[in-house]
Point group: C2
Chain length 271, copies 2
């Protein structure tokens, strides 16, 4: 069975961007898990992308797959993109190259070096390219977009834009309270519907022509879509993009947890 994969960072300017990335002087280890290396993107780098997404920061699954948004948040995003008819013509970067540890200081998030590097990616993905819609997931991503829009290239650039609530904000904001989770999910899906309605008319070259079907008040069948195998590096086993929950940070104390990622092949793959 053929296994499509993402060929990665072989062409410029992406090759040079992946050689020259900001390190601990820009992403301080007190605020970021710089020790696991930067994680750059997911999706099309060949100029075919029609929708650009800005996420927040990578977590443990992303650290192993070396691509952003490959877990549950990614599947919810793929569902959102599918409602726009976009099944492969997407490209995603994060606000932060490294996983956030604790919280990010305002001065760090506004560091001109941090912004300049991220803006180089946005320049490469937007200027002279075919992007028809931009989506920001959460407040940090919205700030990242605004920072680019304030740059000379961004100021001169016009594109449909929707900042939407981060795909796992309902879980983050509700603790383990089911009623709060339902309420936050409902609020998010209404917010996403507004985003879909704003963007849909502008996505003029979808992969699949599809009538816009909005979200209900809760998740429905088909609202989540798989992470495309073609977004994942060569040779990674299918369960790495079909599932999540296979990577955890374990340890008896904070430093042990920080130094650890434990991978467990899902049940049923090995018998």
């Amino acid at each position: 069975m053929p296994h499509m994969f993402d060929p990665g960072y072989f062409s410029e300017p992406f090759r040079s961007l992946c050689v020259n990335y900001p390190e601990a002087d820009v992403y301080p280890p007190e605020q970021f898990r710089a020790e696991w290396g930067p994680i750059f993107h997911r999706g099309r780098l060949d100029g075919s992308a029609r929708v650009l997404v800005i996420g927040q920061d990578p977590a443990q699954h992303e650290t192993i797959v070396r691509r952003v948004l490959v877990g549950e948040a990614g599947r919810r995003l793929q569902g959102f993109l599918a409602k726009l008819g976009v099944t492969s013509s997407h490209v995603i970067i994060n606000t932060f190259l490294y996983s956030v540890y604790g919280s990010v200081k305002a001065a760090t998030a506004k560091d001109p070096k941090l912004i300049a590097y991220r803006n180089s990616w946005l320049d490469a993905l937007l200027i002279g390219q075919k992007i028809e819609a931009v989506i920001a997931l959460g407040t940090a991503a919205n700030a990242a977009w605004n920072a680019w829009k304030e740059s000379p290239a961004g100021t001169a650039f016009s594109v449909a834009y929707a900042p939407i609530i981060h795909p796992t904000e309902p879980e983050s904001s509700s603790g383990h309270d089911k009623a709060k989770l339902a309420e936050a999910t409902k609020k998010m899906l209404a917010n996403w519907n507004a985003g879909l309605q704003a963007l849909s008319p502008n996505v003029k070259h979808p992969d699949v022509t599809t009538p816009l079907k909005l979200y209900g008040a809760t998740w429905a069948d088909g609202d989540r879509s798989p992470i495309p195998e073609a977004d994942i590096p060569a040779g990674l086993p299918p369960w790495m993009h079909e599932n999540d929950g296979w990577a955890a940070r374990l340890g008896d104390d904070l430093i042990a947890k920080r130094r650890n990622i434990t991978l467990t092949v899902p049940k049923g793959v090995v018998s």
Copy 2:
């Protein structure tokens, strides 16, 4: 600081070889850890390689880095290559795409589909290319080379070839017996000296011109060389190619161990 990386499988025929790889019908899960996916190569795929190396099978570090021979065996191999003046113009594939589990049945190793796929890589790396010397590490790799030499393309092809003892054979064969280890190391280094003397005159385009300095009876300073950062995918943290011992298979029973890889950032990287 710039971080060079391996751009991977973007050009043909490697792109198609990484899309269409043999799976569990060719690599049975009783004999191979097929669940972790295939691991294809390490080194130059751009036609610049002068030395081709055939290794045996990937282990847990290779499974995370997604490149072959990145641990101690790899560093010993890099030391051997350095004695030939080869610091970057190498390319390495393995006999087996997946990590061996237990032992490999003779019928599996001789499966025409297994051999045909590996021969496609050897065809791509040898025919019309610039390889001046071929090295096989251990008996399985020697058999892999012989299988290619019996193919039509291989029969017609002439190149300097040295099958040498696998770099970690001394540890494998000696248990924890220090005297046996010293004896096996001495024997291996003598075998490697014969390999160096056979290959050295044929490596006419080394990266560095260097007089051939043979091994002594034990490891000496400089006999091991680092895994080049340019052999590793984009964004992986430096400790993944500078160290090994950071990935282990842990678990309370065989199946738990099989399903697990535990990563631990080396001490000193995170304080």
